[in-house]
């Protein structure tokens, strides 16, 4: 399989994590070893085995659509890293070139 540092960089990109070259070089063989140990799964199952996504014997759990008190905006914003005019302040969304 041999996962390369470039492959790891692509995954880090998808996961929105900035990684240094040293981190990429360290992670590639580690992740490769872990994934290698998992490749035997596909051979051990038949195609007709249904997938299991969770263990709870429940389907379509609904609650009554009732009006209930919600958090005040002050409560919600209390943990925010930056607030402006009673709203979350976030960095700009678009690149200069966009």
């Amino acid at each position: 399989m041999a996962l390369t540092p470039q492959d790891v960089a692509r995954l880090a990109d998808l996961a929105r994590i900035e990684l240094s070259d040293q981190e990429l070089a360290r992670l590639a063989p580690q992740m490769d070893e872990i994934l290698e140990s998992m490749t035997n799964l596909a051979q051990a199952i038949d195609d007709d085995v249904p997938p299991m996504s969770h263990a709870a014997p429940l389907v379509n759990v609904f609650r009554d659509d009732q009006v209930r008190p919600s958090f005040s905006s002050a409560t919600v914003l209390a943990g925010a890293p930056a607030v402006e005019d009673g709203q979350f302040r976030v960095p700009r969304i678009l690149d200069e070139e966009a």
Binding site: L27, L35, L41, M52, A55, V76, P91
Partner: protein, 508 residues
């Protein structure tokens, strides 16, 4: 050691209700103990002394007024730092949530407070509950009270260690692949992962939502059952909560009778890779169970050998999705917001600075397992293997009422020993992962010290979904028989904190 902190939760509750000892005095004794030993053990991330004493005085006033209170009223408890509790930071031991104050209480915390229990503080864990040693905590590892050079297990090492160090009589854990059971095993304490859906996850910081399950940590089986009954049962705020009454857990722990029960020994969970000291104690425990009138059967669960692969694919896939919420926008850490950086750049820098190595590794493994081209071979296969493992359990439970195995292949290893080898670390949970994947209930019980290193060994008992009482039935019976044989409980043999196990003569 004072005659307060070494008591069971049940005894402390009795004293409080009988007005023999106040909750305030009991709470203060535990706070003093924390003050005395936690610099060495580091089980706690936050201690909430003032509020705890205030809660205790309120309970004492209720008792004095003749109010009829619950079975654990006034008893202190430590809460793993994965549960939201207003007024204390909830961090999951991650820099990305350092100092974060939750705007609501988790259901289990609400139930502790409604039961008049006293919350001492928050306990340490591996970052986002990812690990088997607490070494991935951003705030430093917890140490095993049996030997401070060794790991207390993980992820709930803090909750297990605070029990073994007599800093709290009870603690709350959460178990995804073994995070309650494996720490219980290596610290000589009791831990139960209830049936999935048996205890509410509302307000629990998510690692892998289809596996996470809150549960009790205690020093004995009855105390665990008492706590389980306080926190368990249906919660409409958790969509996977099972809307059925809990079995009689306390009754089962007290009954402690396994005559005629068919107990299956899982063939696949033993042999190569299992420490001889662990296998010896496990074999002795089987003899005791047999002597108590249980029928011992060997059973095969052929797909268990694939549980590590299936578990790590499913857990990392769910974790990569759950942890995407830590993006520095609405709460938690934000890094690199210099006015010119874009949102995406800030997210990348925030997650790079706020997440530790293991969290990054698992997020990327999960991202890989879910990515186009690999999904079928990895995540899809893992979900199918999960079905086969659940079927192995189903056919085993046709032949027996309970299954047993060692909880862990080895005793506690030294801090740092497996840090640079993730696969070795992952193998700590070899025995505990199958029950997590199938969503059944499972517990770890102390069965003695390994003759090789003088460290605790745990036995895992597994019962079908919603038959958690069987774990307590066996737990109560085995505990009584072992205490009888030893003339004391296992924790009565723990060296005073600060002294390495097996060398009680040498001072450090």
């Amino acid at each position: 050691m004072s005659s307060t902190i070494n008591q069971s939760a049940a005894e402390l509750a009795r004293r409080i209700a009988a007005r023999e000892q106040s909750s305030e005095e009991i709470t203060r004794a535990h706070l003093d103990r924390i003050e005395q030993v936690d610099a060495d053990v580091h089980a706690f991330l936050a201690v909430d002394a003032e509020r705890a004493l205030k809660q205790a005085r309120a309970v004492d006033a209720k008792v004095a007024a003749g109010e009829k209170l619950g079975p654990l009223a006034g008893v202190p408890i430590a809460v793993k730092d994965t549960y939201c509790y207003q007024g204390l930071p909830t961090t999951a031991a991650s820099r990305i949530l350092e100092g974060w104050l939750p705007p609501y209480d988790s259901t289990v915390v609400s139930r502790l407070l409604a039961a008049d229990m006293i919350i001492l503080g928050k306990t340490n864990l591996d970052e986002f509950a990812m690990g088997s040693s607490t070494e991935s905590s951003a705030f430093g590892p917890t140490r095993n009270p049996w030997d401070l050079e060794r790991i207390p297990g993980g992820s709930g090492g803090g909750s297990a260690a605070c029990l073994a160090a007599f800093e709290a009589p009870l603690a709350l854990g959460s178990d995804t692949g073994g995070s309650i059971r494996q720490p219980a095993a290596v610290t000589g304490t009791v831990g139960i992962k209830p049936t999935y859906g048996g205890v509410s996850r509302f307000g629990l910081i998510a690692l892998a939502s289809s596996l996470d399950q809150p549960g009790p940590c205690a020093r004995n089986v009855l105390d665990a059952a008492l706590l389980h009954e306080v926190i368990g049962g249906f919660d409409p705020a958790d969509s996977t909560s099972i809307n059925e009454p809990l079995p009689d857990l306390v009754g089962a722990a007290r009954k402690a009778d396994i005559k005629g029960l068919r107990i299956g020994v899982v063939h696949e969970l033993g042999g190569e890779g299992y420490a001889p000291g662990v296998e010896q104690r496990f074999a002795e425990a089987i003899e005791i169970l047999s002597g108590l009138g249980a029928e011992i059967i060997e059973v095969g669960c052929p797909h268990f050998e694939y549980s590590l692969a299936a578990y790590y694919l499913i857990m990392t896939a769910e974790a990569s999705s759950n942890l995407s919420r830590y993006d520095g926008m609405r709460y938690g850490l934000r890094v690199g917001d210099d006015g010119s950086a874009t949102t995406e750049e800030v997210m990348r820098l925030t997650r790079a600075a706020g997440l530790g190595d293991e969290a990054k590794r698992r997020i990327m493994l999960g991202t890989y397992a879910l990515s186009a081209g690999y999904y079928d071979a990895f995540y899809g296969s893992a979900q199918k293997m999960r079905t086969l493992i659940a079927r192995d359990f189903a056919s085993a439970f046709e032949k027996c009422d309970l299954l047993i195995s060692p909880t862990t292949p080895t005793t506690a290893f030294k801090l740092g020993e497996r840090l640079s080898d993730p696969m070795a670390m992952y193998k700590c949970d070899l025995c505990t992962m199958p029950a997590s994947l199938a969503g059944i209930s499972a517990a770890s019980l102390p069965i003695g010290l390994s003759p090789a290193d003088g460290l605790p060994v745990g036995l895992q008992v597994m019962a079908p979904a919603m038959a958690d009482e069987r774990c307590y039935l066996l737990g109560g019976a085995l505990e009584a028989a072992l205490n009888d044989r030893w003339g004391a409980s296992l924790l009565d043999r723990i060296p005073e904190v600060g002294r390495p196990a097996g060398s009680q003569e040498t001072s450090r």
